[in-house]
Every structure is written in C-alpha cells, then in structure tokens.
Symmetry: D2
Subunit: 400 residues, 4 copies
C-alpha cells in the first residue's frame, strides 16, 4: 500500500525509506483559494510557490482561478517565484475565489486533477472549503491516485476548530481598530453620542472580542455566543441609558452573527409582506441601530445621536501585517514539507504552539467558539463593565 | 462709529490709527464648533488658542461645548496652550458639536456673549453654521457690542462657496482611498465582482470626484451634479454589464447626494405603507446596491457579487494629514490677526491662492458645486471612461 | 519652419491648422526618469501611458531604463496601460534612475531617439535632469528632428523655480511627520531629551519648514536659507539650554543643506589627516548631533540624551498620497496634451494655480528657496519661538 | 512568616486563607518605567491602573517619573483611570524613563517606598531593570516590609529569557517593514542598488530575523548570534557581488549587535588617534555601509549605490498594534492579580502559551538568543538564500 493513500493520522511518517516522497521533477502542484477574503492569502500562495521552488526545486505550480469551479471551467495559470514575488503586499487573492461549499462537482474537479497530471493540491479556505477538500480527498483515494491533498485553513473569523489561531486574524483585529476609533471620535463629539461598529463573526465572536480588548474604547461587545436582550432592567437599552447618563457617549461592537433570534422575532412581528428594505434589516448592525434609534425616539427621555459603521470589507481586504506574514510563511512551508513527504488528507495548523498536520475530519467538526465561561470573556466583561445578560428578569450584576 | 461695528467689505482696515485694535489684556475670546465632524477642527482650535497666546499675549480663551446651544446650556471651559497642545493629533472636536442651524436661540447666545464679557467669537462650521454666525453678528451689531465675530468655514464636502478648498478635504480624499482600495480588492477577487463605495457629498461631489481621480481604480463616479439613469442602452445597468464583460470586475463610487430623484421615484413606486426597512433605502448607497443586485438577479444574464462599503465616519473622524494641518494653522492665524485688528462679520478663507477675509453674506450664497462642463470633470470622465448620462435615449458617447 | 522646432515661448499654439499636431498612429513616445527618488513618479509614468492611450489612441510608448544613459546602454521596455495599471501604488520608479546631470552623452542619446524613431520624449527629474533635457532639446533642434521634448519637474525638495509646488512634496511632508513624532516621543520620555531629525533639502528648506509647521512638536527648524551659529548668547547651544530648562525636552529639525559653512570650519579645524569616520561628519545631522553632545558633555552643566533620526529614504521611497496622485495625474495629462499639440522644449508645471508650459531656460535658473523675510518663515518662527540667529553678537529678540 | 516575604517559586499560592491578600483600601501601588522605549509601555501602565481600580477597587496608584531615580529625586504623580484613559494610543512612556541599571541607590529607593507607605511596586523594563527590581526586592525582604514587587519585562529586542515573547515585539517587527520597504524601493530603483537597514538587537537578532521573514524583500540578514566575515570566497562582499550580478539590487538587514568583533578589529587597525568621526563607526550600520562602499570603490569591478537606513527610534517610539495591546493588557492584569494575591519578587510573562509568574533570578540569567541551529533561522536562510558564513575558507553552501 502506498503511503500517499494513507491518512496522516494513521502514521506519522508514511514514507518509510525517505523523508521526501516526491521527486522534484515529478511534482505538478496546484493552488486554489475559496470562500471569503482574508488577509494573508496571497502570502500563503507566494510561500507555497517559493517554498516548492527554493526548498525542493519544484518548478511546476499552477494556479486554479475562481475557486473550486475553476478546476473545470477555467484555464490554469502558471505560478513562478517571479510571478508571486510582490503579491504578499496586496490584499485579496490573486487567484480569485468563489463560495467554497456546495454547487461544485467533485467528479469534475478530480477529473481535472487526474487529466492534468496534478499530484499536489493545496487548498486555502474556511470550513466549507475544508469540507470540500475532504470530499475531493476521498474521491482521489477512491480512484487510487497518488495525489497529496493539503488544506490551509483560512477564516478571518478565527472559527476553525483545533488550531490556535487563523491566519489573517491579527490583521483583521488591527484594522478593526480604525472603525472603533472612528466610532469613538464620533460618539465623543456629540451629546449622547452612540457609535455602533459591526465586525465579522457569523458563528464566533473572536474578532469582536479581541478588537474590544485591544481598543479599550468599547462599552459593550455583543457576540453570537452570548445572547442578549433589549428590554427590561438588565437589557441593552437600559445599559445604554445608564452609560450615556454617566459618560455622555458610548461605543457598541457587535459581531455579525449576534442576536439572530432577536432579529427573527422582530422581523416576523413586522408587516413583512413585501419590503425590499426589510431584507436590509437582516443585517444585525442596521437592525440594532434602527432599534436603538426607535427606542430612544419613542421613550422621549433622551435624545441620542447614533453613527453606524460596517468596516467588514475594509477589514478583510487589506494586506496582512508582519506577524501574520510570518505566520502564513510558516504555514505554507509546513504544507509544502507535508506534501513533499507524501502526506495527504490533512490541514496544516498550529496546535498548542506547534505546527501540526490535522486530518480533515478533525477540522470539520463544527466551529470554534468563544467560551463565555472562560477567562478571556471574563476579561472583556471586566474591561467593558457591560451586563452579562445572563438573567433577563433579574438585577444587573455590576461585575463578573 | 466704531470700527468693530463695520463689515469688512466696507473698509479694509477699520482701525485707522493702529494695526491692533484690541489690547491683549482686554481680549476675552471664545471658540465654538458646530455641524458634522471634519478632519482638522482640533488643529484650528489649537492654533487659535496658541496664536492668540504666542502672537498677541492673550490668555483668556474659552471653549463653548456642544455647539451653539452650549453658549446658554453649558459651562465654558478654559483653553490654554497647554490644554490644546496635543489635540491636533486627534480626530473630531474636543469641544463637541451639534447641528449648526436651526433650533438655537440667537438672543440667548448673544446674551451669553454679552454677560460673559466675550469680545472675540470664533465659529467653526459649515454653511448652516456660517448662516448662524451671520445672524449672531447682526444681533451683536444691533446691540452695538464691540465684539468681533469670525467664521472659520469647515465642510468636509468642500461645498463652501468663494473659497478655494475646505479644510480637511485632502484628508478626507486620502482616507477615502482605503475604502476604494478595499472595494477594488473585493471586486477583483470574484467573478463579476462589483464594489460600491458611498462617499460624502450631499450637494457637491468633490470628494467622490477627487477620490476617483486619485485612486485610478474606479470605473464609474456618480455625483449630485451629474444626473444618471439606470435603464436603457446608455443607462448604468448596461454600462455595468459592458464593463464586467470586458474586465470581469468594477468599482462604483457614489456621492451621498447623487440620484436623489431616482430614489424618490423608486420609493414612491414601492408599497411603502410601512416599512422600517424602507427608510434605509433613502441611503443612496444601500438603495443603489439593492437596485443593481435586483436587476442582475432578474435579468438572469449575469451572476454578480456586489460588496457595499460606506466609510463615511471612518473618513471624517480621522486626524488631519500634514498638508491640512498647515492649512488649518494658516487659517487660524488669519482669523486671529483679523479679529485682533478689529475686523468682524467675516469668514477666513483662501481665495485664488490668497488668504482673505470674506463677508458672511458672500459665504452664505448656496453651495459650491462641481461644474460638469469644466476640465476636472472631463478629466474624470476620460479617466473612468464612464457614460456621460447626458442623453437617456441616445447612443453612448464613448469619450467626452 | 516646422512648429515642432519652435520653443513654446515664441508662440502659444504652434500648430496653426489643428489642435493636434501628431497623428496617433505616428506617435512613438518614450519616458525616462532621472535623479533622486520622489513620491509620485510612478503615477506620472502611469498617466502619461494611459493619457496617450485613452485620450489620443497612442499605443507606442517605451520606457527607458536607468535614466539618461539607458537610451544607449539598455534595451527599452514597452509600456501599455496594463503594464502600468498598479504602479502608482508603489514608491520609487519602475524605470529605475541614475544621476540626471553630467556624464551622459547627449549625442548618443539623440542618436538613440533618432534611430528608434521616437518623436515624443517625456523626461522626469529635478534641476540637473531638466538642464539635461534642455541640452537634448537643443541637439534635437540642431538636427532638425520633429521630436517633442517635454520635462516633468520632479524634486522632492520643492526647489524648482517658477512652479508653485513640486510633485511628491506633500507626501514627503506627510511622511516626515512619523520621524518628528518619534523624535518627540523619544525626547519627552527622558530628562533633557533632545530629538534631532534631518530632512531633505540641499539648497532649500521647504520640507523642513512645512514639516515643522504641520507637526507643532518642533522647537527649532534649521534650513540652508537661514544661517545659524552654535556659540554665544544667541547661539543654538544657549537656545537648547533654555528650552530644556523650561520644557525638559525639545525637537530640532535640520535640512540637509543647513549649516554647511559651519561644518567646513569645523572639519578643517579637526585633525583630518585620515579618517574614514570624518567623512560621516559631512552629514549635517550626524555632525550637529555630535556637536551638541560634545558641548553638553564638556560644559557639564546639563546631562542630555540625544536621539538622531534620518528618515530620508523612508520619506522619499513611499507611494504618493491622494492629493499628490491627483496632482501627478494633471501634470501628466498636461504634458501629453502639450506634446500632442506639437509643443516642445518645455516643462509642465502649475504657476499661480494654473497649469502652464514653461520653457526650459526658465526652469533652469537656479533653485527656488525659502524667503526668510516672507510670511511663511515668520509663521514658523512664531510657531517654534526659536531665535532668528540674525545677529551673532547681539541679544536675542524674544518675539513679536 | 508572612506570605509577602516569600518568593513565588517557594509556593504557588502564598496566601493560604484567602485569594486576595491585600484589602483594596490598604493598597498603595506605584509604577515605574526604566530602560529604552518599547511600544506598549503606556498600555501596561493604563491596564495596571484600570485593573487595580475596576477589578479590585484600588484607588491609590502613583506614577514614579524618570525611572528608578524618580523614587528619590522627583515628586510622584497620581494615576487614575481618567488620567490614563487614552495613553495607550501614544508611543513612549508617560512616566518617562532612564537607564534601568546602575547608578541608582537601592537604599534610597526602598526608603522612599517605605516612607511613602507604598506596598505594591510595578516595575517595567528590560534585563537591567529586572536585575534592579531583584535588588530592590531583596532589600525590601531584608527590611521585612510587606511590599509586593512585580516586574513586567519589557525589551523591544525580545531578548528576555524564559518568556515566549516580549511586549511590543510584534509592533517593532511591523514598523520595521517600512524601513525595509524603503530600502527595497531605493535599491530597485538604481543599478546595483544596495539598501542597508539597521534594526535593534544588541545581543539577540530576533527583530532582524522576524522582520526579514515578514518582508521577503531581504537578501541577507546579519545578527549577533551568527558571525560573518567580509572577505574571501564565502564572505559578505562576494555574496553581495553575486546577488547584484543576478538581481541588480539587494537589501541587507543588520542587527545593531552583529559583527562587533569585526568593528573592533577594523577600528584598531585604523589610525584612531583622534577622530570624533571614528566614534560613529562603532555603529555597525554606518561601519558596514562604509566598508561595502570602500570595497566596491577600491575593487573597481562594480559601481554600486548604497542607501543606509537606521529606523531605530521610529520603530520603538510608535504606539503598539492591536495584538500587542491585548498582550499588554493580559500581562498587566496578570501582574495585578499576582500582587493582590500577595505574591512578590516575580516577573509576569507568557511561558509556553501560559501566563506565569517567574521568580526574578530566573529572568536575570542572561539574554535569550536566536538559536542558529533551530528551525526559524533555517527558514530564514532558506528564504534569503544567504551564505551561512560557517566556514570562512571553504566553498559556499548554497542551501542550509
């Protein structure tokens, strides 16, 4: 049985006679990027190409354009060290992207891999993409092809399980500071000014949490993992009223996936028969901003000025900062070493501080989430002094 | 008749026996900031305080908090060179602001000026604010008070007439590049990707025009001064279809005041009986993005991916760049020299490259607008190669 | 006599029958960049290529690599709109550069122009380069060639006469703020901390002056146009002592061309028979820093901590800011329109706010300098409150 | 025996009856910052003050100005959450600093602590400072005072042993990219252009190594841990010659502590009898630049253009980036929890990913250094493809 057909978890070093499984001249590698943008993707592309070339003398690397469907719907493009020399200074992905999951034809993808003689497939993307990679890997194994399939996990939300941190995450938190600063300046400059900033995080509030901890200007951070409610003595409206009374202004950071159940209730309560506009209210930032404005307009107790900022695309489309560049470089080199050694069916990642190879099935077990009983969330609560929203009826606990 | 009571247009130097009208020890100056935020306001505050102190030995400068209403509803705060030493490194205004126009009681404002013995009033703000300044000036003249009223025009939209350029404008154009860059990266990274960026400019499209010229990544710039239409062979939808077919992606910049008549039509056509959501569609950026998405979804000819960015508050809440800092410094010094010489009822500004004193009534004659028959707009059209939208029925002119 | 052979000063529009002198298909343009780097050069290159292509349908544009000598020592490279699409986001020049003046063989340059059939030559560079352009123009005229020679003046020092402002200047002043900020932070953090920042400006102190005015953290600005002296009751050492005594820290900005006569004296006084190290002291920043350290070490009155920053290359190697991008675009378009209309032997530039064509001989009449009796320098003196150094023996004039 | 007198290594939780040793109202804390600047120091100060206040209700926190000597030579300043609210947005230290080691009178410091009734001392600084902290701790123990002494290790060089990473390190690596970018642009723009960048690192080359890995534009990285030589077939000069021949330009990064033995040799070989200038050559960046210029001038084989950049103060005087802000916050909270629990004589730090309390003597055992036989340095060598300089006589190994 050939080592390439085995999963990395079965054996640590499958190639029992040599550390390098592939001959350089036999390697035909390809790289594909899927899913949403994330700072650092171009750095990973660059370092796979340069790593294969400089460390192993591999010269055949192809780029697949436009995500998975590019395998069968587009021409490939050659990638040499010269082509990728400066790409890490740009945001986005030079290969283009499309949705990682669903709608792609695994059979045709593997046909393309087989027909083109590709034997190393590097796949960058989030959880949907990694699930797709797993299916491609299974199909390749079923066909008995000697092809190494390697995932590089990429999710700006930092919601990929097992691994310590997603690439591009520090850059996203850094860039989010601009939006929070602007919200703070706007809020401070008017009486009862409220700045609301929506940050990424459909299932996990990591960006919101770290951006809040880094900024120190945030009064309330709302994330999917920690439900909240608007009304009542311990609700958000009352907290806003108190904070404005004390300080005269405040900043709220909300992750895009927070408060989804509240939105559902709220929209089903509306006369929803038509409205183009109501679709927009499914965006939690627009919805919450409207709710707060309506509340204070109706209550007539307090005239507020609310400024809403959604910096999502400005956060994720920037080039990566230096620490993410180093991180991406190491991930790419780890991926290259793994593939060259004949491993397949794994995702690279740092686990407890060590570069590791993780079987696909482990990475595909749901999202990593903020644990709201853990220290980091406690630190956030202590920093913002916001309500824990644990008890909708009870009295507010001033401190966690 | 005292020189302080005259308008600057009547005579150039009213103080006929001396260049300095006020004795330093007699000066009681105050500064008030009104209207929307704009980069550079803190620099102007700093330089009025430091200019009065260092150039004339004036030590009594007060800050009025929260805009015009702060004259009668709040305590003043003392401003010394030490207090304002670092404020130019921050966005916003340390004095706070509120709407410049309407709802303020001129009588109470002038009472406060009179009662507190203030004899120099420095007023920062846009057109509404300057109109308010004019009314205050008239009331002061009516009462025969020896008070110098000086306006420093501040509108990030650059829509103040007579003067060459508003303070903070270059900073706003600079900061807008981030949003356009992000839109460009997002658009480039997907098939038929469209990035839409809304920029400030209710009546005038200067920020949108200059940001487009500076970026070179924009395919279409829509401003209030140049009407456009969506449908038809020369409409926006068709232009989008063509540009996507040619390039695979595009960036649209739209000023907040563009296309207002289209929105009105569009919203009145909707079943508008209710909807909280529909209010959001009065925002031209959200409205246009929805329209484009709907059009391509319905036409089924082309699957597009649209990303919308509204960087407004991130653009206007930043500290000013160096060139604006110098500009603000010179404006503030000009204001101080004018007031100390006994001039009143004027706004400072650079006109045809020269620092000038402009009577209030001149600055209050409507907004400055982009002249779409002028060279700068022609340069933009030549740079984006967008349709001129001049003839809704006719054929598209490929070049101006 | 052909219009191309005439100097622009002789007639305004030489082509008497048409506004466009060249047919698009006949144009063979080339671009060369010489002298030191300056932010915005790549923008100009981009806009010449795109302007010729989009506005006139010209497709033949060549890049000359490595400055003037590239005409005869290197291959040319083709420049299309696609090639230059993103170059304005990079610092430096994609064409490379070398010294603009001297050592280049005019005959061989013009031979190359003639042999390659080039009929439009765009030359970017400072005063040396423009003098070279003038010589090339004369030789072309002597040979009776129908070649348009156009200069685009580029000097980060802003020392080019006649024109209002050099391209890249605002960017340089902006970037210089980082160095001044760092110097200020370092100085503030230690007792008797002195931060010294050297900025560009061999003959003219514009960058130093504007960077000082923009920053407000500078205590003393030394430029070539305003001599200073070290010793005596009104000398720099005494001013430093006073300022440190009052404030505990200070920042000095010095232009590279300031104090040259003091350095000469100082170095000739040294035992200079050998020293590799002494060469370094011809750098005014290193020299002044050493002098200040030695003075306070010897005087034993005050222990100082001096930090020296030379940000020269970090300032001039950045991409241009938005306002410079617009400026470069307009200059390039102006150059293209001029050449296409058949003008030759001129430099483009903004003069009193208007885009103008300036004959070479006017631009080559010495450097533009800061006029120290003008308002701007007075503003600087009032801002820093530094001595005027006008009278080495007399008493210090405290201030207006 | 009181728990406060024990070292943290002796027992983990000294306070056997309660988690909190101090009563809030009894705490009199002080903070002192020593040694060179480092991004993030103000964040730590802020979070100690806010952590004590918000988490424990402590209101008495003093700032000691100007480093250790401030204990006896200056007044203290009160620090409240309001005072420190915005300081994390500024570089440097609001408390000022001075050399951490030597010349300070431990007796007088402890007298001041005792006389002022201070019972928590937070000390920020590098290895010298931590050694000083250890001595202060011993003296406090000798006198039997119930004072908690806590170190927060701060060295931008990242050379503190035991801990994973120093605060501010990521910021420094980020900021160093600007200098490397500028060097790269300058080098690329001239024929045989060489950019030399000196980065911090007297004993350890971490900043140089990570900045090189992050940038990808560096051709050679020289650090104290890896000796190099100039001459010979495997020397630096020959490597430069080869790289220039291949690529036409190159960038060299050198840590300030690299090549010290070469400088000594070189300077002792010079006629050093006098020269002020020669002192400057003890700066390895200036020295190396001169050596390279001299070599190529003498050899006459190749005309080079060398640009030298020393961004040291611009790198270390900036505010910290978001990830460092979070890191500083957690360190400060860890310090506060430790002190409040009654621990003393320890430094806080992250060790193998965990926040830990480290006894002073462990942190004072020499510098952490780059291990040049480890993976990270191998990655760097593979990335730059520079010579390993392991064998001065032998042939160059192309790859590690």
């Amino acid at each position: 049985m050939d080592n390439i057909s085995r999963n990395v978890e079965e054996e640590t070093n499958l190639s029992q006679t040599a550390n390098v499984y592939f001959d350089s001249e036999d390697v035909h590698a390809c790289i594909v990027t899927c899913g949403g943008l994330c700072p650092g993707v171009n750095t990973v592309i660059r370092e796979i190409v340069c790593g294969l070339h400089h460390m192993y003398g591999v010269n055949e690397v192809l780029g697949i354009e436009g995500g998975y469907s590019g395998f069968y719907s587009r021409n490939t493009i050659p990638l040499t060290p010269k082509d990728v020399n400066d790409i890490h200074k740009r945001g986005g992905t030079i290969l283009g992207t499309s949705q990682g999951e669903g709608g792609n034809d695994t059979g045709k993808i593997v046909d393309s891999i087989q027909d083109r003689g590709i034997n190393q497939v590097y796949i960058l993307g989030g959880d949907g993409t990694q699930r797709g990679a797993s299916v491609i890997f299974e199909e390749i194994r079923r066909r008995g092809l000697k092809v190494s399939v390697v995932g590089i996990p990429e999710s700006v939300d930092n919601d990929i399980p097992v691994i310590d941190k997603s690439l591009g995450f520090d850059t996203a938190v850094e860039e989010a500071q601009r939006a929070i600063n602007a919200a703070h300046v706007e809020a401070e400059s008017t009486e009862n000014g409220i700045g609301v900033v929506k940050l990424m995080g459909r299932f996990s509030g990591f960006i919101a949490m770290y951006a809040t901890l880094a900024s120190r200007d945030v009064d309330c951070c709302l994330i999917p993992e920690s439900p909240f409610y608007l009304e009542g003595p311990c609700g958000l409206f009352e907290f806003i009223r108190k904070r404005l009374t004390e300080n005269g202004h405040m900043v709220i950071v909300i992750a895009e996936g927070a408060g989804q159940e509240l939105i559902s209730e709220s929209l089903s309560a509306m006369n929803k028969q038509d409205s183009a506009g109501n679709k927009l209210l499914q965006d939690v930032g627009l919805w919450l901003s409207q709710k707060i404005k309506d509340h204070f307009a109706e209550s007539k107790k307090m005239a507020i000025t609310l400024k809403y900022i959604d910096p999502t695309y400005m956060v994720r489309a920037v080039p990566s900062i230096a620490s993410d560049n180093v991180y991406c470089t190491l991930l790419a080199q780890s991926a290259v070493h793994g593939a060259m050694a004949g491993y397949t069916g794994f995702t690279v990642g740092v686990v407890n501080g060590r570069h590791s190879y993780i079987p696909f099935y482990r990475i595909n077990e749901g999202e990593k989430k903020v644990v709201i009983t853990d220290r980091m969330w406690a630190r956030l609560l202590s920093s913002t002094n916001q309500p824990s929203f644990l008890n909708p009826k009870g009295t507010q606990l001033t401190k966690p």
